[in-house]
């Protein structure tokens, strides 16, 4: 292989970037160096189009144990314990090969968390596909769900929550975001910085093969299009059994204090893990590729350095402890090899036996990529299509049933029953029984709640307001189970940042994220950016997936989202000002357009605090945030979950100026649907709207009336599973 004039372009580097590399090296890079630069300077690794924007995010807070820059963020939950968490995308691999793409997405995020010394205790997923009438969307959904289950179930980490939306802009470019939460003793956590000149660098886990070569640059940093079939070899293959052993092995090594630092091998493999460890520690690293255990003997040095073979970790170990480390690896039947050494050279050097085959300053390789200013321009109108599937003359009852059956709102039981939600014995609330997953932490004598949210359609309508709403929805979900938010992670899934409209969406969304986090006092402790999510028809809906973790004192006091007892009063709490803009109903009617009302963040935060306190005090029978499909859908969901009906009159909302349709089906932040004793609701300042009664869902909204049986509502809500299981 020779370095042709256009070689760098094939690898995704611009001419200017190539010239900068030549300048920093003082010479032209050789093949090995060019391959390594092309990966670390890719969008996926360098965040070159987003890093400047991300500086807006608040990252500090009293409870922050680890912030951005580590393998994952972590927050203190008290009593000497911390939870580590992060969400990451595996969109493009999943769009090419959904089973392995999703499986290795889960595998990768698990490694990020146990690299800190935290035992993974929960997985959540945020998935987006095209509409279900598309065969491709069904294929991707089926593969991704099986892949997530395959990996999470086999490794013994429960999948406790998540969300799935179906929208046409994801038809070509699906989204698979996986979030992992881990538990650690705060004073036993480790960082990823290499330290100690002369210390050994040990590669643990699976052997290194040719799979996934160029994944970060080829797949993750370019638009999808024709020829994706040819990209299949760049998708990594997962082996959860290998990772199960690696996980236990790493936790035992850390528990025994045998490691100086630990880093997972993700995108760009050894190149990024060695480079980033050296950069974080301000040291150099020598890697001898001849010592790397290989699957194929004839691999070239550049292939070994950029391979994205899964289930590998890189550790820095003091020389005196190497033998003991290798013995623990032996016990767990996990591979291990001393492949390098920490140096004071400030260089990443790649050797093959004695010969130096690559030599680059760490600073140039890891931090030398130029950062770009994006050039945002607000598009003139609605960028995406409209497709009416519901007659606007449909009655209120018909509309409710259509909304409940809409795949994005319908029960996702078909998917979550394919995941082990129970292993670990912490799952105090199973999927769809409460607004957030609740995990007991007996080690700290409390519990945590976790939610992941992000409605791309609403972000498309207004990237600022839509992103604020996504953060608020997480906070509301946490409030419903009595949890106080401690920290946030995010995955920003957007289109091509070099185009003005996706750039504008990204810019506005980051501002919304920053302002919502600032106002709620919730720090952003980590995240991931996935750009270039476009298909032939254009960009995806801009989709920030927000993951939030909170703490609550007593998991046995958590109210569910379902009504609990006949005769309970039903009330509405919070600054709920629903509108049809961007709603599920607007989608079904084909009326989507630019623009959303701006949420009142401070008022929502105050309502969250009030609901949280009421739940913690055990005063509420149920608490459910009003979200997709509006109040009527929230009422139906609470009724279906309990198999109890309700009698509700929305007159108080109409008196506030809402139309009946807005009151029933309008969406917006800030609404909590609660039930309980009337005095409890009164003391919470709830607007009384009805009571739990009978087996019918009866909602009056002026002229409009909903009267459907709970059974009919449930049948509509369960339609997704029936449709997916139906023979085709």
């Amino acid at each position: 292989m020779t370095v042709g004039a256009a070689k760098h372009r094939e690898l995704g580097l611009t001419d200017t970037e190539f010239e900068l590399i030549v300048e920093k090296l003082g010479r032209e890079p050789n093949d090995v160096e060019l391959a390594m630069f092309s990966l670390l300077w890719s969008e996926h690794c360098s965040y070159k189009h987003s890093r400047k924007l991300l500086r807006r995010l608040p990252t500090e807070g009293e409870r922050v144990v680890m912030g951005p820059g580590e393998n994952a963020g972590a927050v203190d939950i008290g009593n000497g314990h911390a939870v580590a968490f992060k969400v990451e995308s595996h969109n493009h691999p999943s769009a090419v090969e959904p089973f392995e793409g999703a499986a290795t997405g889960v595998g990768g995020i698990l490694r990020d968390v146990f690299a800190l010394g935290a035992r993974p205790i929960a997985i959540l997923d945020s998935l987006r596909f095209g509409e279900l009438d598309s065969e491709r969307a069904r294929f991707l959904l089926d593969g991704a769900v099986r892949g997530i289950g395959h990996y999470g179930n086999s490794i013994g980490v429960p999948t406790v929550g998540g969300e799935i939306y179906f929208e046409p802009p994801y038809e070509h470019n699906c989204l698979v975001n996986a979030m992992c939460v881990g538990l650690a003793k705060t004073d036993e956590m480790v960082r990823a910085a290499a330290a100690g000149v002369g210390n050994a660098v040990i590669l643990m886990g699976a052997s290194t093969g040719r799979d996934g070569i160029g994944g970060a640059s080829v797949l993750a940093s370019a638009e999808l299009g024709d020829g994706d079939e040819a990209k299949r070899p760049t998708v990594q293959i997962g082996d959860p059994f290998e990772e199960a052993k690696l996980l236990e092995c790493c936790l035992e090594l850390l528990g025994k204090g045998l490691l100086v630092s630990l880093q997972d091998l993700g995108a760009a493999g050894l190149t990024s893990s060695a480079g980033e460890m050296a950069s974080a520690g301000g040291v150099g690293i020598d890697i001898d590729v001849a010592r790397v255990p290989l699957r194929e003997a004839d691999m070239e040095p550049f292939e070994i350095m950029v391979s994205e073979s899964q289930e590998r970790m890189l550790a820095v170990v003091e020389p005196a402890k190497v033998a003991e480390v290798l013995a623990v690896c032996e016990k767990w039947q996990t591979g291990s090899a001393e492949v390098g050494v920490v140096t004071d050279s400030g260089l990443v050097r790649v050797l093959r036996d004695e010969a130096v085959v690559g030599e680059m300053p760490v600073e140039a390789l890891v931090d030398g990529c130029p950062l770009y200013d994006i050039e945002p321009a607000e598009p003139a109108g609605w960028l995406y299509g409209n497709r009416a599937t519901l007659d606007s003359a449909a009655s209120a009852g018909e509309t409710l049933l259509a909304l409940l059956a809409s795949p994005s709102i319908a029960s996702k039981r078909w998917a979550f029953e394919q995941y082990d939600a129970l292993v670990g014995s912490r799952t105090a609330r199973r999927p769809e029984s409460a607004d957030a997953a609740v995990l007991a932490i007996p080690e700290a004598d409390n519990a945590i709640a976790v939610s992941i949210d992000g409605n791309g359609r609403r972000v498309a309508c207004d990237p600022y307001a839509g992103t604020v709403e996504a953060v608020l929805e997480c906070a509301q979900n946490l409030a419903c189970v009595g949890a106080e938010p401690l920290g946030l992670t995010n995955c920003l899934n957007f289109g091509n940042p070099e185009k003005p409209a996706p750039a504008w969406q990204l810019d506005r969304a980051v501002s919304g994220l920053a302002e919502a986090c600032e106002a709620l006092g919730v720090p952003v402790v980590g995240g991931n950016v996935s750009l270039y999510n476009e298909g032939p028809e254009g960009p995806i809906y801009p989709t920030p997936a927000i993951g939030m973790v909170g703490e609550l004192p007593d998991p046995s006091r958590v109210a569910g989202s379902a009504f609990a007892a006949e005769g309970d009063a039903i009330g509405l709490v919070g600054p709920f000002a629903p509108a049809l803009a961007g709603s599920e109903l607007a989608k079904l009617r084909g009326e989507l357009d630019h623009g959303l009302p701006e949420p009142d963040i401070a008022a929502v935060a105050a309502a969250c605090a009030a609901v949280r306190d009421a739940v913690r005090a055990g005063k509420l029978s149920s608490a459910h945030d009003v979200s997709d499909g509006g109040l009527a859908v929230a009422l139906a969901e609470s009724a279906i979950g309990a198999n109890l009906g309700c009698r509700v009159d929305l007159a108080p909302l109409l008196m506030g100026g809402l139309t009946p349709v807005e009151a029933l089906f309008g969406e917006g932040s800030g609404g909590f649907l609660v039930s309980g004793k009337r005095e409890a609701l009164d003391s919470l300042g709830a607007i009384a709207i009805g009571e739990v009664a009978g087996r019918e869902i009866e909602i009056a909204a002026g002229e409009d009336r909903v009267e459907v049986t709970v059974e009919a509502a449930e049948s509509a809500w369960r339609s997704l599973g029936r449709e997916l299981d139906a023979p085709r």
Binding site: G149, Y419, L422
Partner: protein, 209 residues
């Protein structure tokens, strides 16, 4: 009662089983290479994906040194409880009759189900497995039923995997080895859903007595 909970590479539910056993006795994890199980009154082979379920679920774990000891202990009449992957291991080791095949749906399934015990007691316990469809030839099924070896059936209409004759769990002829697909160790705390699983562990205590 001193419980030993086996741990193979790829086990998942061993800590959950350990916790459940510790509610009604003393319990300790046993690494799969340990051959001496003399210190234990009862053994649990937990759920999970031992050896990644490669080849067949349970097919590799059955050859572990600890399983040789389990076979001896079972022959002595001491209680052995295999849960999910543990049930699969016991069938592979021929300590229980029959085999577990892929679920009829060909999908993993995690769901709370109702079980009916031989004495008609009803238990609410979750299942979570991809290969839980109990299979045995007809004549073997007849013999199993005639011997009273069926310990638990899925309640009518709740068979999640297509198991023959709704069989969720069964014993060996002597009654001291019990395998079941549902996870009683995930039903020992009202906070996580049910306490009905304790009855399964108590049943093993009765075997030991």
């Amino acid at each position: 009662m001193r419980w030993g909970v086996l741990q193979f590479p790829g086990s998942c539910d061993e800590r959950d089983a350990l916790h459940a056993c510790s509610l009604i006795g003393e319990a300790r994890l046993v690494w799969h290479e340990q051959r001496d199980l003399d210190g234990f009154d009862a053994i649990v082979i937990p759920g999970g994906f031992s050896y990644g379920d490669y080849l067949r679920a349970g097919a590799i774990a059955r050859f572990s040194p600890a399983m040789e000891a389990v076979a001896e202990l079972a022959a002595d009449g001491r209680p052995v409880l295999g849960i999910c992957n543990g049930f699969q291991v016991l069938c592979e080791a021929n300590l229980l009759p029959g085999a577990l095949l892929r679920n009829e749906s060909l999908r993993f399934i995690c769901r709370q189900v109702e079980l009916v015990a031989a004495d008609d007691e009803r238990l609410s316990i979750p299942v979570k497995h991809g290969e839980g469809r109990y299979y045995a030839p007809e004549e073997m099924l007849d013999a199993i039923e005639a011997n009273g070896q069926v310990a638990y059936r899925y309640a009518p209409g709740q068979n999640p995997n297509g198991s023959a004759r709704d069989i969720a769990g069964l014993t060996n002829e002597a009654g001291n080895v019990l395998g079941l697909m549902p996870h009683p160790e995930h039903a020992v705390d009202a906070m996580t859903g049910s306490t009905d699983g304790l009855a399964v562990f108590e049943r093993m205590v009765a075997v030991a007595a």
